[in-house]
Assembly symmetry: C2
């Protein structure tokens, strides 16, 4: 009997969950240091070699606002050469989406805040203006690159550090509107780390009831230590796509004290130890981690599993790389 | 609608879960610094004032082995004066149990390892010898203090850093034997932080199937970041008693890299934010936390919620103090 590792061998099969790595975007944009373009490319290559099949590689925003993302187009052009990888780029508006399409991104992700206050602070647009913007991005995509996916991601869906409580009805209303505007998928972000497992199960259940197969990824933060518990709750609610950040880089400038995204290494360990295949090789993730620590000296990195090591006797049978 | 705080007002009612604080025993015995007796008493008083209704206050072991616990009897005699508090003392053997009974502890907890290797390393007895020892402690209790509870706690139930994988059948066999020997409750400890949510649900389900109402507490560690996810999984499996350590003090000398117990502050926050009442006031826990940091200068303390603060708009309605 194998207790600490109930993995089923699934070599070659489709993994049970998709881990969407957001470190090169969410992580890098939240720190002051700027990773060199060549290092970003090496990092993305190492993530791909480790089995990641979706990576949010950059954000298309003006370089004066986020100098960390000045090389966005170059990064996309590099990443789309990696076989089997879905290259995701964030675009907060039509102009960014245009640049992302031009560079060749496979999928565009658009953040839309569930609270009006966060929306105005983050993108200086109301929620309704953002819904309209998503509609314009969908029109552009339909005209120029119909194969490209459009993902909306609802920020502060679990609570807002400006407004406080965010009514669940607001989140579900927004998800319906974004779907109606043409978003192929709409996911939920716990930008502020306010979420709890019961709320996570409830909200993702409501999301699926409202928009069916267009229900998207869980993007959970670990600000109050509940990131993995919430991912487990989301999995139980039927979610199969999870955003996370290698080394736990990342956060949101409007979430005070935010300790950032769920750590990819820990999330992969949780699923793999439960026998839920991710297609990701934990050993190879360490190589990607080494690139981050080498190329960003002095920047704090996180991860309980990298610190503690794998359990004695743990065999990752389900890797798919 | 209240989303980030679905608490039901339960003032005066019995809390939904019992948090059993193990910091004064598990936490203090794992650090080199020795907390002064008066500080221990102040800390236990502050925990009680914060709503804790079960505290593992000390360990009855020879002072040459654990000088941190030399004042065990004095601590028990102080703690039993606090109204409504169940005073728990650890005893690894008959001699310790005798001292605990003499001091007036309400409940004795006995660690019994699920792996033979860990048992020999930790208490220099085989598992069968420990089952016999529990029987002798039960006999002593029956003769001298029949109102005192006997709890067995199965260490390394989720995996062992010496042996590696621990067969689930071994854990359930041991739980049956300990119940047969007269333990009133038998809980499971993830001493090494090897557990995952699926395993936690499975093992506590098997425990309840095997020993019914004698199934005891979940004692989870956060070594690999899954402590709270595992507590949530245990709750889902019907567990209603959870061990945790204020400030995250604690760990096991045989679990290399162990970052210690689940943090009481974070565990209480998780349950309260889910609307599951703990009877504990998060604000008052900060006072207990301050006593730890003042009286153990230089000793690292943990806790995501104390660092990040409570969510904006969070109201703890369910406190019971």
């Amino acid at each position: 009997m194998v207790e600490t590792c109930m993995n089923r061998p699934t070599s070659g099969a489709r993994p049970d969950v998709l881990i969407s790595e957001c470190g090169p975007r969410d992580g890098l944009q939240s720190i002051d240091a700027i990773m060199a373009t060549a290092d970003k490319m090496r990092w993305i290559d190492a993530l791909h070699a480790g089995g990641l099949r979706e990576i949010e590689v950059c954000s298309f925003v003006p370089a004066r606002l986020l100098p960390q993302m000045a090389d966005a187009a170059e990064i996309v052009r590099h990443a789309i050469e990696l076989p089997g990888l879905t290259v995701l780029a964030l675009a907060p508006n039509l102009r960014g989406a245009e640049a992302a399409l031009e560079a060749g991104a496979h999928k565009i992700t658009i953040p839309v805040s569930a609270s009006e206050a966060h929306s105005l602070a983050n993108v200086r647009k109301t929620r309704n203006q953002m819904i309209d913007e998503v509609g314009r991005i969908v029109d552009l995509r339909n005209a120029r690159a119909p194969h490209v996916g459009i993902e909306a991601n609802i920020s502060v869906a679990f609570g807002c550090s400006i407004q406080g409580i965010v009514p669940e009805n607001d989140v579900i209303w927004l998800a319906r509107e974004l779907s109606a505007a043409g978003a192929d998928e709409t996911g939920l972000s716990d930008t502020t780390g306010y979420g709890n497992p019961a709320q996570t199960t409830r909200l993702f259940g409501q999301l699926r009831a409202a928009i069916g197969e267009r229900a998207g990824a869980a993007h959970m933060h670990n600000t109050r230590g509940l990131g993995l518990a919430n991912c487990f709750a989301a999995y139980e609610a039927g979610v199969r796509v999870f955003d996370s950040s290698l080394c736990g880089l990342g956060g949101c400038p409007y979430a005070p004290g935010a300790s950032g995204n769920v750590v990819t290494e820990d999330l992969v360990f949780m699923f793999e130890s439960m026998g839920i295949s991710t297609g990701i090789d934990l050993g190879k993730l360490n190589l990607a981690r080494a690139i981050v620590t080498e190329s960003l000296p002095g920047v704090p990195v996180y991860g309980m599993v990298p610190e503690a090591g794998l359990p004695k006797g743990f065999v990752q049978e389900s890797r798919n790389v």
